[in-house]
Symmetry: C2
Subunit: 269 residues, 2 copies
């Protein structure tokens, strides 16, 4: 049995009290450096691996401070506040002594409560009725995900028209399929291609500067979802002077909203 | 001319290289400790006041690690990465040597680009046609904001019914009116009462643990908005085992989307 490329990518080696070492994965290479979703997952892993960890992740914010270079990196993850059932973490990633990423993580021991999905999953065809996105892949990491676009696929032509909406909906999962965990949900939160490419169908330079993920699931819900498809929806709310936001949801096939996520992205026009 | 209570609340005194001292404001007192929106604004102020600041805030994430006690606090704000036109900050707030808040801030020099508001302001009556929320105020800070609810006002009775939606829409501004700036937009992002109180009409214990604000405006747009009303909309997407999210928008009367914001909130049921 071979190791899944995602597990290989997020493997860290402990190098000190609050310190880990990792390396970028060619399997998740982006145009320049690695896919940001996996970088976010590596930052989260430093917390998940920490012996002092209390509970499970509820929120994660990752700030991409500089391009991550291919190769090794150092992660520091410090629990700065531990309460009775909650914990706050500060994380940073360095290469050659320079900060390339900062992150904060909030973890908690959850308790069973009244629950509800208020943002209901839209009605869409089943995964088996939607074609998998094919064709040549621009960058390596895209091949690590199976994507079946229901709406707003990657532009087949750069017609530079204003398409009036930036919304995409797609079924997605790891390729090959892999049981979900917190790290893979963090990575899946960044799978959506930049909304300005969808809205304007123009391949302008972009870069995510900050991403936040809220987890609405514990280990049990993730285990139930298994290696199944997630429905992802992503849409921008505003484009303004070089930065736009995108807000996204990830539902299981059964309609459980596993995660909601937001990011702000640089664009050059 | 007297100082506006908000300016008094967010005033900081420099106490070292990257350090400031401030104090909680009785004018913005909450049930226990201060209103979190003003705490977030104070954290942002430590960056805005910093002599090394490059550009204007694009994103802010604040993690409320512990209840802030009434009285003084120490803020540290460090620029951990400065690029050509962007900057990443790590902030923490301490009381008696304990971390009570962590934050990250991303600032940038913006450039004029193609822009669009994709999440359009909903059609609602004008502020003058909507009654100001009256009656006794539960906590002091609520009196520092004028709120005119179009939909989803603070429950007049705790009927403990599932109202099926958590959405609120309201016109809001500082009271007395005050020209908008980045700090006041950060505080306004936290004005929405907890969505579970709206959805369930039951006053369960709650507490925001993390909030993110994306600014879609520069100084010029804020100056144009002046001391006018903002339309605020807030809604939860998921409630799960002790934590729910709420996502919100703040538009100017002219329909410019100034800020989008998200938070995750503890609830006990």
């Amino acid at each position: 049995m071979s190791v899944h490329p995602f597990d290989e990518a997020v493997a860290l080696t402990r190098s000190g009290e609050d310190r880990w070492q990792g390396r970028t994965s060619p399997a998740y290479a982006n145009m320049v450096g690695p896919f940001g979703g996996v970088t976010a997952a590596q930052a989260l892993k430093a917390v998940l691996n920490h012996p002092a960890l209390l509970g499970e992740p509820v929120s994660l914010t990752v700030n991409f401070a500089a391009a991550v270079a291919d190769g090794t990196f150092e992660l520091s993850a410090r629990p700065v506040r531990t309460n009775r059932s909650t914990q706050h973490w500060v994380v940073d990633m360095q290469q050659n002594g320079d900060t390339v990423l900062t992150a904060t993580v909030f973890t908690a021991v959850r308790r069973d409560t009244w629950k509800a999905v208020e943002h209901a999953m839209p009605e869409v065809p089943q995964p088996s009725d939607v074609a998998a996105a094919g064709g040549p892949k621009r960058v390596e990491w895209v091949s690590r995900y199976e994507m079946r676009f229901v709406e707003g696929a990657f532009p087949s032509a750069w017609d530079a028209q204003d398409h009036g909406t930036s919304r995409s909906r797609l079924w997605l999962r790891d390729n090959p399929p892999r049981p979900l965990d917190f790290a893979s949900v963090a990575a899946l939160s960044d799978v959506f291609f930049p909304r300005i490419w969808r809205r304007r169908a123009s391949p302008v330079p972009i870069g995510t500067v900050s991403m936040t993920v809220y987890f609405h699931a514990g280990r049990e819900q993730l285990a139930q979802a298994g290696a199944g498809y997630l429905l992802g929806q992503a849409q921008a709310q505003a484009f303004h002077d070089g930065y736009f936001d995108q807000t996204a949801q990830l539902w299981t096939e059964a309609g459980h909203l596993l995660a909601t996520t937001h990011q702000v992205v640089y664009y050059k026009e």
